[in-house]
């Protein structure tokens, strides 16, 4: 069996196993929908006033996408690692030709498919319930690339969290603790103008910032996005490598 064949086998089993957990599937898609409905339709934006949602509706499209790009891989990969560890599955897989890197790549592919579908749902919902009008340009074709690269990055981070946490409960708690600040402090829902200047280096240190900047440059304020994609790609490779190394193989 080739490397691609092993990855396809692992991804197929993982996808099938996930799609049969109806509750997990429902809430994976329902969670971002709730956010869009609450913030986009109920709270709405107030471009002329102050407060949290002071930017035009289109400004927050990267934030809505970031919800699934960030939360879903962190919790899913982390939980999957905890589930595998508790069930002795890594012990079994360690005696097969499947490597740790292949395992993580397979689960990253599954997450890309799930989050790609969720992103389309979010984009449709944002257009339907908010005043956002995304810029239509050839650069829009790069938007899926940003989603793919960011999902890969956070799958790597999820793997690290799964390896560090000693239980599924621990993984959920850890991923929420990491994801929540990242979500709001990465130029997604809170613009840099609302933050103290001394905090801005922390914003620049967040990988999600480059996803938000790049996607915003594509769908809201046309501008350069290649640099953001490059940073995001380098970080994705680094996190995937670290995440693959962290996948448990021995006790």
């Amino acid at each position: 069996m080739t490397r691609a064949g092993r990855i396809a086998t692992e991804a197929s089993a993982a996808a099938r196993s996930f799609l049969r957990r109806r509750t997990a599937v429902f809430f994976t898609f329902f969670f971002p929908v709730i956010l869009v409905v609450i913030f986009g339709a109920l709270v709405q934006t107030q471009p002329t006033g102050g407060g949290l949602f002071a930017e035009p509706a289109g400004y927050y499209i990267p934030g809505y996408l970031a919800v699934v790009v960030l939360f879903t891989p962190l919790s899913r990969v982390g939980s999957e690692i905890a589930r595998h560890r508790d069930g002795g599955r890594f012990e079994k897989l360690a005696t097969t030709p499947l490597s740790r890197t292949e395992w993580l790549l397979a689960h990253t592919l599954v997450n890309i498919a799930i989050i790609g579908a969720a992103s389309l749902l979010i984009l449709g919902l944002v257009l339907a319930v908010t005043d956002a009008e995304p810029v239509v340009s050839p650069a829009l074709a790069v938007l899926p690339v940003f989603v793919v690269v960011a999902v890969a990055l956070f799958c790597g981070l999820g793997s690290l969290l799964g390896a560090l946490a000693d239980s599924q409960d621990g993984v959920i708690a850890a991923s929420n603790t990491v994801a929540l600040p990242l979500l709001f402090l990465s130029e997604t829902f809170v613009s840099p103008a609302l933050l103290p200047e001394w905090f801005l280096p922390a914003v620049a240190a967040s990988p999600l910032t480059y996803f938000a900047r790049g996607t915003r440059a594509i769908v809201f304020e046309p501008g350069p996005w290649l640099g953001d994609l490059a940073v995001l790609s380098v970080l994705a490779v680094a996190f995937l490598a670290l995440g693959a190394y962290a996948v448990p193989q021995t006790d």
């Binding site: 069996m1 064949g5 197929s12 508790d86 890594f90 012990e91 005696t95 021995t250």
Partner: protein, 342 residues
């Protein structure tokens, strides 16, 4: 012939030797294998050697180090000492040649038995036909049921299927029949025997002594992380199993019987112990049963039934682990152990 931990291969030709390839390198070889978890010593200088085509049984109490040894041999835990599988360190073994059923294994629960075998088979360069593998473990009729809906025994049989799907040369089975009913156990036993007959080397750990006694060519008994005895089951039983015994059931009159009177009637040729249901006469060979019955009658003992039994691997286990059962004391007592075997 049984051996101490320091001697890993019996001098005498062990039972089942016809399955092995004479003059070949051992499939599994361990020397001075040590593993600690903090202050807890799991493996303390284990020596082990498994020949090609051999069914090697590993027995021992909970916490003796059996699963740790399996993990060390499959490269899923680090251990000190020399460990070789097919002549190379466990982490460098061609995975195509090894199959593993971990003791605690819970595969994806919402895949069917067929999908699970397909999944694990799909990770190898070559895999056996899924339907044939499921037939081998007696799961053909439930192949399309989700794993989570299967009974405990069916789940374990499905897990066994995932361990043999790559047609391994060396198969590690860590308690393969846990939770399986007698019919299911027999199908697994037949499978192991068939695999061994076809040349597969099987490393079997189990708490079912009858299973190990039936299947294993050689058995190692692990206690406190060290091998205290190794050899063919018959040799271990002859050396450590004790004497055959005659259980005498007396019914309601059990408490009134004088064991010393029976001992006297036997002229001291066998030891007589009182049990909850009657008497146990230890050291009675088949040809001595008639004499024992005569002695019972001479002592005025009216019995309901007699049951003669040979010592078994379970007796060896209980004796060497110091967990010999004492019915009179109402449970398991620390018994005198054979420290000389360490």
């Amino acid at each position: 012939m049984n051996e101490t931990a320091a001697a890993s291969a019996p001098d005498a030709e062990p039972e089942g030797a016809d399955r092995r390839e004479a003059g070949t390198e051992p499939v599994v070889a361990g020397d001075g294998v040590r593993k600690s978890y903090g202050d807890v010593v799991a493996l303390d200088g284990v020596e082990v050697r498994v020949e090609p085509g051999e069914v090697f049984g590993l027995i021992g109490p909970n916490g003796a180090g059996k699963t740790t040894l399996v993990r060390a041999l499959t490269g899923t835990t680090d251990a000190e000492g020399v460990l070789e599988v097919f002549g190379v360190p466990p982490t460098e073994v061609d995975p195509q040649r090894v199959g593993l059923l971990p003791q605690s294994f819970d595969p994806p629960e919402r895949l069917t038995a067929t999908e699970l075998v397909d999944y694990y088979g799909g990770l190898y360069d070559a895999a056996r036909d899924t339907d044939a593998v499921l037939r081998d473990v007696g799961m053909a009729d439930d192949a399309d049921a989700w794993y989570e809906t299967l009974s405990g025994g069916q789940k374990r049989r499905t897990c066994v299927a995932t361990a043999i799907v790559n047609d391994p040369d060396l198969l590690f089975l860590d308690e393969p029949t846990t939770g399986i009913d007698p019919a299911g156990r027999r199908s697994i036993h037949r499978l192991i025997e068939r695999l061994a007959d076809d040349g597969t080397t099987v490393f079997l750990t189990s708490h079912a002594m009858d299973e190990v006694e039936r299947l294993a060519d050689r058995v190692a008994l692990l206690r406190d992380g060290a091998v205290v005895a190794v050899g063919a089951p018959d040799d271990l039983i002859a050396e450590h199993g004790g004497d055959p015994r005659l259980e005498v059931t007396l019914g309601e009159a059990a408490a009134e019987v004088d064991a010393e009177a029976v001992t006297a009637a036997l002229s001291g040729r066998a030891a007589v112990e009182s049990t909850r249901k009657g008497l146990r006469i230890v050291g009675v060979r088949p040809e001595d049963i008639g004499d024992a019955v005569d002695a019972l009658e001479a002592a005025g003992v009216a019995f309901e039934s007699l049951a003669w039994s040979e010592p078994s691997l379970e007796d060896v286990y209980l004796r060497l682990t110091g967990e010999e059962y004492s019915p009179l004391a109402g449970g398991f007592d620390e018994a005198e152990t054979e420290e000389g075997d360490r």
